[in-house]
Symmetry: C2
Subunit: 323 residues, 2 copies
């Protein structure tokens, strides 16, 4: 059986042109760019909680990095470096090779060097720390929303959660919907370009990535910005056809695992944001607005009348929702 | 049951004076110091592999951070920031509070801000990423040893492994040895001051932290520096009394979990290193030397004659040694 050190050398170590020193020493060494701040995020993925233990390792490798790059995207940061720590039940070299292939595919797509990591034995867990750069003072934050801002979300929130519901046997998706939903679940595309452009062109006042569910994550913007967020149910992306509409709406509003960006922007940016959607070939939905308030979410119906839903985002320690 | 967000707010979030933005957003934001490189390391600790699942949470919190600071110490870096990701089987608030108390005790001792993290549900795993700073080009690396260098190790390598052997019932330590051995195992003291002084005063050509076992880790210096490392068994720290000498020697040479520093230094630094040991009140043992070679470890006996041992350091994927 290959040793830990052999495995690292064979599958983890690739050239790291953006680092002073890559894997193989006690620490990696980086030279941050002058005038930039460093954006840092970490995510732990546990088998059974975030993915099935028998998940195909190549897309899992992609997703393990992608969910962290989504956090960098939400700050408008340029991804640059990542570290990967893994707890593995056994040294299955085929699994590791496939996983790392997916991981490096994502790293290559977004220009990230894998500069270090750790492997150990234990129930399957994966922990990535991702580092990016953003000009000092320029990061998009959750606490920057202003009363009067529009609220926007990118892409197709809810489809990944429908893919999960399908894989768990809770629904049967029609043929034409299955592949895109499962694809978004297994291989999310972090909105790095969108985040950087929003920051560079000063289009957004605040941003967050949608990982816990659209309402929950917009709730974080509202809370941190000390505003209310009004979501117009009539402005949400259309639900897919031939799917239980209750399930589809729940997935859209609270499904999680979307890795889209939700952001707030001044109303005078509407035209520019429409053009940006075309430029990036990525739908941008204006779904609500920010109002003076105390950090709450308000839902309004087609005619602007108050509406309600009685469930929130995904909470890893909430027994009821994890069943 | 408190939600994930409540738990984070209550136990994870403390002031982060060294960060531009601490926990609570998609990323933390740091402003690296001009002219410095960033040293980054990550370690995953799994219950059952690195610690017993019923380990006292306060010292576990200390150790979870300390083992990462030990990697920073080995580079001569000043610790500054850390991120903590945890997978927990349940939201046991007492456990979390005690764990974080130990974690923050270590963070406070070494001047580290906890700037971010993640919590999820799953079998107990803890993953820390630690970041420190070192002047550009000044880091102590594994690959800097030179032929003719002395080899040194700090502290009392082997005692932590004896503590583990005692806790596992493989030996019974005498009363006077039990507390120091178990103490070093459960609450290691990363040699941050030693690493920084070695770097600042240009006393060492290479360094590594001893986590996998003394011979294995000195082997990494030898391999990365393309030299042989000669270890004089007669120069090793004296084995503790009233302990099985075979076990004690094995713990000393291959026990792991020491978090001492091993380093190479020119022979003309011997006097200065002796004085440094007094200054830091930390034993420094000159245990061997670097020779032209191909990355191998050579053991020599009391009279300089070749000696041998037939076991190596701890490898997490080596079945034989993990039983």
């Amino acid at each position: 059986m290959p040793s830990e050190f052999d495995l690292i050398a064979r599958h983890f170590a690739r050239p790291t042109p953006q680092a002073v020193l890559g894997p193989g020493d006690d620490c990696a060494l980086l030279k941050p760019s002058p005038g930039m701040e460093l954006a840092v995020t970490t995510d732990m993925l546990a088998a059974g909680t975030h993915f099935f233990a028998d998940t195909d390792p190549a897309p899992l490798g992609w997703k393990t990095l992608a969910v962290n790059l989504s956090d960098l995207a939400a700050m408008g940061a340029q991804p640059r470096w990542a570290l990967l720590a893994g707890s593995l039940p056994k040294a299955d070299e085929d699994w590791i090779a496939a996983f790392m292939e997916g991981f490096f595919a994502c790293a290559g797509r977004y220009g990230v060097d894998l500069i270090g990591g750790d492997t150990t034995r234990g129930p399957l867990h994966l922990c990535v720390t991702a580092l990016g750069e953003v000009p000092s003072g320029g990061a998009l934050r959750r606490d920057g929303a202003r009363a009067g801002d529009d609220l926007w979300v990118s892409g197709r929130p809810g489809l990944a959660a429908l893919g999960l519901a399908h894989l768990r046997g809770r629904t049967v998706l029609p043929d034409d919907l299955r592949a895109p939903c499962v694809g978004l679940l297994q291989k999310p595309l972090p909105r790095v370009e969108l985040g950087m452009v929003l920051r560079q062109r000063k289009l957004a006042h605040s941003a967050i990535d949608v990982s816990d569910g659209l309402l929950a994550d917009i709730g974080h913007i509202a809370e941190r910005s000390a505003l209310d967020a009004e979501i117009s149910l009539g402005r949400l992306p259309a639900l897919p056809e031939n799917v239980d509409p209750g399930l589809a709406r729940r997935c859209l509003l609270a499904g999680g695992d979307d890795y889209e960006l939700a952001f707030s922007a001044a109303p005078e940016k509407r035209g520019e944001l429409s053009r940006l959607a075309d430029e990036l070939d990525l739908p941008l939905w204006r779904i609500g607005r920010c109002l003076e308030g105390r950090g709450e979410i308000r839902l309004v119906g087609e005619e602007g009348e108050p509406a309600s839903v009685d469930w929130k985002g995904f909470d890893h320690f909430d027994e009821e929702q994890n069943r």
